[in-house]
């Protein structure tokens, strides 16, 4: 469902130099699969996700979502992709119902289908009790669920989430990840980035570790743990540290 091949994204730095934010990244996410994109700050995770969401144009390489290329068919990608940015991305003065309804309109849903979809999402996401309250007065967890609902309103087969549990407490994070697990079971292809490895350790099917704009490790939890030096704790976090410490810290530029 999501296919990234040799993706490169360079930025122009303020001093005139070039920053290689993403430097030849390749991975894929199949339907009904949840993949965790791991990496330190500046590793290139958000840039990769923004390219997938058609917010950035790749310098080279390809990124395909549901058969649509981000360069040649960005509108097709947007119709097939739900994107949740690192910020919750919910307008403070609109209610959850209005947010979902407005994005339903943007995606061209017919009025009856749109109303039904909004009501369905309000129920699924547990937002019924606060459906008509301005988003500025919602808790972080509720806002994140509104953001997820906005990404799901058009029923996309692929979902990309940039640090979705960042502003949530443990309960909120657990609820959200359980929701994502249900979506995965429903056949969605899910790609999410996070720093909180313990939260996704048992929930993601596979992991892709990015460092310095390159993929430095990829596989299931067991693959990554097995590749880590013996003697340490058999956790995803320990495996992650082992991988990036062998590569050295800091993004290339």
């Amino acid at each position: 469902m999501i296919e990234v091949v040799d993706l490169v994204k360079h930025y122009r730095a303020s001093d005139g130099g070039v920053v290689k934010a993403v430097d030849g990244v390749s991975f894929g996410v199949a339907a009904g699969e949840m993949v965790g994109l791991l990496g330190a700050n500046g590793a290139g995770k958000t840039t990769t996700l923004r390219v997938l969401a058609t917010l950035l144009k790749p310098t080279s390489g390809t990124a395909v979502v549901g058969g649509c290329d981000v360069c040649t068919d960005p509108v097709g990608v947007r119709q097939r992709l739900g994107y949740v940015s690192a910020t919750t991305g919910v307008p403070d003065r609109l209610t959850p119902r209005e947010v979902l309804d407005s994005f339903g309109r943007l995606h061209g849903l017919e009025p009856a289908a749109r109303r039904a979809r909004v009501e369905q999402l309000l129920d699924v996401l547990g937002l019924r009790s606060c459906a008509d309250r301005p988003a500025g007065r919602l808790s972080s967890g509720q806002r994140q669920r509104v953001s997820l609902g906005r990404a799901l309103v058009h029923g996309p087969p692929a979902l990309v989430l940039d640090e979705p549990t960042n502003a949530l407490d443990v309960v909120g994070a657990r609820d959200l990840l359980e929701l994502l697990a249900e979506l995965r079971s429903a056949g969605h292809a899910i790609l999410l980035s996070t720093h909180r490895l313990h939260e996704i350790e048992q929930r993601c099917d596979r992991f892709v570790v990015i460092h310095g704009g390159r993929v430095v490790a990829a596989g299931t939890r067991q693959d990554l743990v097995a590749a880590a030096p013996a003697g340490g704790p058999a956790t995803l976090e320990a495996a992650f540290f082992a991988v990036i410490e062998t590569r050295g810290l800091g993004a290339s530029s």
Binding site: Y11, R12, S14, D15, G16, R50, A53, T54, L55, L56, K57, V75, R78, Q79, R80, L81, Y83, S85, A86, T87, T88, G89, V90, P91, D92, R93, L94, E98, S102, F103, R105, L106, H107, G108, L109, E110, A112, A113, R114, R117, P134, S147, R150, A151, H154, G155, P156, P157
Partner: protein, 734 residues
């Protein structure tokens, strides 16, 4: 869900969805509500109330000042009774005529002098007249009666009482004059050879004065400014606010083009701006209806030909203004990353645009089609003209302003769409907004914009220096050079951190560094180049002066005449070395560093092609000519600028240009010497002869100038040739 119950996304459908979503957000923003609804509703009544109160106070004061007074007059002396009779008779006669200055009532009393003085001191009377006994006889005879008049001291009577009493006594004198003429057998008409009559005077005076054309300009400018402020908060909220809240990314991944998003946001901002306009117009109308009842007599708020046509023109023009204001505010705030940053960017733009709208109030501005197309000023001008002139005259300008508004709006929306998806703008750091003002990193040469900055600053300084510059050029030239050339140049050079040697071409002709020693060929090259440059400068001065005299003769502008007078004063009154330094050395050095150093380097750029160099030489010469301000001198300074620029480019050195400029400016001093020296010219000036009355340069002079020019160019070319063969240009980078 995919594919089921779905319209084709994007296009107008998406734009309307975004407009609807944004409108809901705007309406829930209290700042928008205050600017859109409360400000207009409160503003106009407050303005009208304060204006009406001011007018009423002023009218009352005028009315009181002109109102007929009650005057208490005490008369004393033996002739008091007789004068009292005459005053009573004159009062009765005058009251039968319309008089603008006449007391409401005159109370006359005849008392003793002591009683009169007491009453005056006690303020029981306004005026005391001590009448001599022969008053009656003198008035009927041919003499003049002296009447001492005393005014009450504490408090003194108002000026109108004094004025009206004087009018009464003038009437008494007129009556006496008529009696004298009658006694002498002269008809009364003798004193009145002309009498003016105004048959339509009564009707014309009754027509109230229309004040709408007078106040329309100010009100329309205020309306334009308030309409602009209507777009202020929605525009900030529309894109910069979305970025601040982190919602812009979610919008940009909607299945539509950036132009659809921008158009949707424009529709929402435009809707709020239109509502602001409508509320403003309604408030103006309601305020006018109320204010009309309280206007002083003789003033009217009604339009002579009704309100429909001017209002229709105004609405059409201001709808264009609202669209343009919305698009402008959106475009200006798109690059901002937060609401605060957008506010900081938009505020000065709003002030500038308001000033532009205010230009419609300038005297003599009328809505001709080209002027009507000027954004923000044109719309106000068209509406103002519609309220002021016959209805047929604004159709063309109205069309021009609407077309201009739509075109500019479309262009601005296009730019906004480009900026919205620009990755650098969308995901830049927080300090990028001030990047343009940040001190740049070190580099070889300035950019074109940076090259123009000291010129603009210099011209601005020149404007202000006019008020400071003394008439004496001994002080004026250094002050002007420091304020307009060296000051701006030094500041820009310090700020820009460019390579000074390369930018200013500070080296020997051919590119050799100044500190490097030279061979015989180098010395020959330098001598030929500088000698040639000097000859070119002298020749150019001679040819330029001859051309100027041939074309204009002595019919120079007052400014040019004044400059000539001051230059002659400098040459005749000051020591020769000082005059030479001020007229030649200082301008040659300062202006060459600015124009052939900084400006030429900026226009030429690094690694310039021949075509770019040619354009750079012409452009800097145009700037050089413009900088000299006097139109008469511009052709000559332009030609000089071309020559100086070409020399700098050919030799990669500023030295030949300095020498050429120096010689060019030194020629007048040389001519003074040729004319017999300073003493001879001073003597001629003292004898009354004008030293500026040149009517032409003799043919031999022109021939010598041309010859000097040709020889200079040839010598200069030889110098360059020698430099090249000497290999002095090796490794040159300019």
């Amino acid at each position: 869900m995919t594919g089921a119950g779905r319209n084709r996304p994007g296009g107008l459908h998406a734009a309307l969805a975004i407009a609807r979503r944004d409108l809901v957000e705007f309406v829930r923003d209290r700042r928008t509500l205050v600017v859109t609804l409360i400000l207009p509703v409160a503003m106009y009544p407050m303005l009208a109330l304060s204006t009406a109160l001011g007018l009423r106070t002023a009218a009352t004061e005028i009315q009181v000042e002109r109102a007929p007074a009650r005057i208490a007059v005490v008369l004393s002396g033996d002739g008091a009774d007789a004068l009292a009779r005459r005053i009573t008779a004159a009062d009765a006669t005058a009251r039968r005529r319309p008089r603008s200055v006449w007391p409401a009532q005159i109370r006359l009393e005849t008392v003793t002098a002591a009683e009169a003085k007491r009453r005056l001191d006690a303020a029981e009377a306004d005026v005391w007249v001590d009448v001599p006994a022969d008053c009656d006889r003198l008035l009927d005879g041919a003499g003049t009666v002296e009447l001492p008049v005393s005014w009450a001291a504490k408090p003194p009577p108002p000026a109108r009482v004094q004025e009206q009493f004087t009018a009464v006594m003038t009437e008494v004198a007129d009556e006496a004059r008529r009696r004298r003429l009658s006694a002498a057998g002269v008809p009364a008409a003798f004193l009145e050879p002309v009498r003016l009559t105004f048959p339509g005077e009564t009707a014309a005076a009754a027509a109230p004065k229309q004040i709408v054309p007078i106040v329309a300009g100010g009100v329309l400018v205020l309306l334009a400014v308030l309409t602009l402020t209507g777009a202020f908060y929605p525009a900030i909220d529309a894109i910069a606010g979305e970025k601040e809240r982190g919602t812009i990314e979610t919008l940009l991944i909607a299945p539509c083009a950036a132009r659809d998003i921008v158009f949707g946001k424009f529709l929402a901002v435009f809707a709020i701006t239109l509502v602001t306009l409508v509320v403003n117009v309604a408030s103006i109308g309601a305020t006018a209806a109320v204010a009309g009842r309280y206007l002083p007599a003789g003033l009217s708020l009604e339009l002579p030909r009704g309100v429909v046509w001017p209002a229709a023109v105004g609405v059409a023009a201001f709808t264009g203004l609202a669209a343009l204001a919305s698009a402008t505010c959106l475009a200006v705030t798109t690059a901002a990353k937060s609401g605060k940053e957008a506010q900081n960017t938009l505020t000065p733009v709003i002030l500038l645009v308001s000033a532009l709208a205010g230009t419609a109030l300038l005297p003599g501005m009328r809505a001709a089609s080209p002027v009507a197309a000027v954004p923000f000023a044109g719309q106000v001008l068209v509406a103002r003209t519609a309220f002021d002139e016959a209805s047929g005259g604004v159709a063309g300008p109205l069309a021009a302003t609407i077309v201009s508004s739509l075109l500019l709006t479309w262009l601005l929306l296009g730019v906004t769409a480009l900026m919205l998806t620009d990755e650098d703008i969308l995901f830049r750091g927080p300090d990028a907004a001030t990047k343009g003002l940040a001190r740049p990193s070190r580099r070889e040469r300035p950019t074109v914009v940076e090259g123009v900055v000291p010129l603009v600053a210099g011209l601005a300084a020149l404007w202000y220096a006019q008020g400071l510059t003394p008439d004496d050029l001994t002080l004026a030239i250094p002050l002007q050079q420091v304020l307009t050339v060296l000051g701006p140049l030094a500041l820009v050079v310090w700020w820009q951190r460019v390579n000074l040697v390369r930018t200013f071409s500070v080296r020997w002709p051919g590119g050799m560094p100044l500190g490097a020693g030279g061979s015989g060929r180098h010395v020959a090259s330098l001598t030929a180049c500088l000698g040639g440059a000097g000859l070119v400068g002298a020749g150019l001065f001679g040819i330029g002066a001859a051309a100027l005299l041939a074309v204009k003769g002595t019919a120079l502008s007052a400014e040019a005449e004044d400059l000539n007078r001051r230059l002659l004063h400098l040459m005749l009154e000051r020591p020769g070395w000082l005059a030479w330094c001020l007229m030649a050395v200082v301008p040659a050095v300062c202006e060459e560093f600015l124009f052939r150093g900084w400006v030429l380097a900026a226009f030429a750029g690094a690694g310039a092609s021949l075509r770019r160099l040619a354009v750079a030489v012409v452009a800097q010469a145009a700037c050089f000519a413009l900088f000299h301000l006097l139109p008469e001198r511009m052709p000559q300074t332009f030609a000089l600028g071309i020559a100086l620029g070409a020399m700098t480019v050919a030799t990669h050195s500023i030295l030949p240009a300095i020498v050429c400029h120096l010689v060019h400016n030194s020629i007048p001093l040389g001519l003074v010497a040729l004319a017999g020296g300073r003493a001879a010219l001073a003597a001629a000036a003292e004898a009354g002869g004008s030293t500026t009355d040149l009517t032409g340069i003799p043919p031999w002079g022109v021939a010598a100038a041309v010859m000097g020019m040709v020889c200079g160019v040839a010598l200069f070319a030889v110098g360059i040739r020698i430099a090249h063969t000497a290999g002095s240009s090796k490794g040159d980078d300019a």
